[in-house]
Symmetry: C2
Subunit: 184 residues, 2 copies
Amino acid sequence: MHRAGSANPRNVRTAGSPRMRAKPAPRAARRKVRLPPLPASDIDLGPLAGWLGFHLRLAQSSSFQSFARLTQEFDVRPGRFALLMLIGRNPGISQTALSKANGRDKSTLTPALADLTRRRLVTRRRISEDRRSYQLFLTPAGKAMLDELTERAKRHEEILERIVGKADRARFMEILKRIIAGVA
Amino acid sequence: MHRAGSANPRNVRTAGSPRMRAKPAPRAARRKVRLPPLPASDIDLGPLAGWLGFHLRLAQSSSFQSFARLTQEFDVRPGRFALLMLIGRNPGISQTALSKANGRDKSTLTPALADLTRRRLVTRRRISEDRRSYQLFLTPAGKAMLDELTERAKRHEEILERIVGKADRARFMEILKRIIAGVA
DNA sequence: GCGAAATGGTAGGATATAAAACGATCTCGA
DNA sequence: TCGAGATCGTTTTATATCCTACCATTTCGC
């Protein structure tokens, strides 16, 4: 898949390179050989090629984009969707608890919830017992939106499951959970 | 792990809840029962609990943070590290090729490379053959930095591999690669 | 050759995210 | 009951990221 051994010194232009096409051989004396930019298909990843972390990052990006494609008409990306789901399943949840379950810093929630509130999908209520915190709820519109999004998310999951394969699914999930628990 | 069935209506405070502690039972008539914010340990993830996409996101976050912890003294996070590695292994690579190998949009590279150039880790060279593009190279300092970072990254990989397990490592990697290729 | 289309890189606008510091409020121990 | 410290949410600051549009340059079709 990638070049073997160490970095290719690339001191010589191979004959028949696509770049040679419309280039009349210059008459001037030996021109210094210049390196054409590497084509994307011929990149040496080095150790990255064998590293889990790198591929975890790329896989997450791919998954994210697949999800976003399926839900773009609602303008809700995975992060927001998880918030709606967590609020819907846990009416009255606090922002701190929400941020932990969502795996994101609590300061991230301030603008996100402001947006969801502005869109009338979520409401916040001060409680008299602890006036520092809010309780979060879905509005009826929020519930409807969550239902719609859940349908799309299911399709996304089906895509992922087809790629992962039925046989490996449980094992794969278990490994992900171990990483979540173990690295933190 | 999470509450069974549909959302818990949470209409009743359970006796012995931690919140009851220093609360002298109010003498006033039946106080309206208020919902304390849910503790983080008792969150219903709903369908999220079974979804690969959600856990992929969290696993990626965990991995990222583990890496960042090991390399924080160099102020280089996974994205920058991958850039250094890719440039180091592919001297003369163009920004577009780099962005593809790195799985990020090319416009993301402009500020990233400006930073790496400012720190004298990377140099860019216009080439006469195609004056639109640059060739990227590591400086000696960039190479030294890459070597240092590679050591830390190896430790991070060892952590991941211990979590994933020797037996599952190859399978796990293969699945990640399928997701990268298949969803895109 | 020439003009249209593609390509490499940058700029601007928008969103997502984290860390640190902060004010308000609550809890705990003595 | 009081004060130190913890907790909740926000603000501020700094990155990272994408998308769209754009400019300069190159390639392609004819």
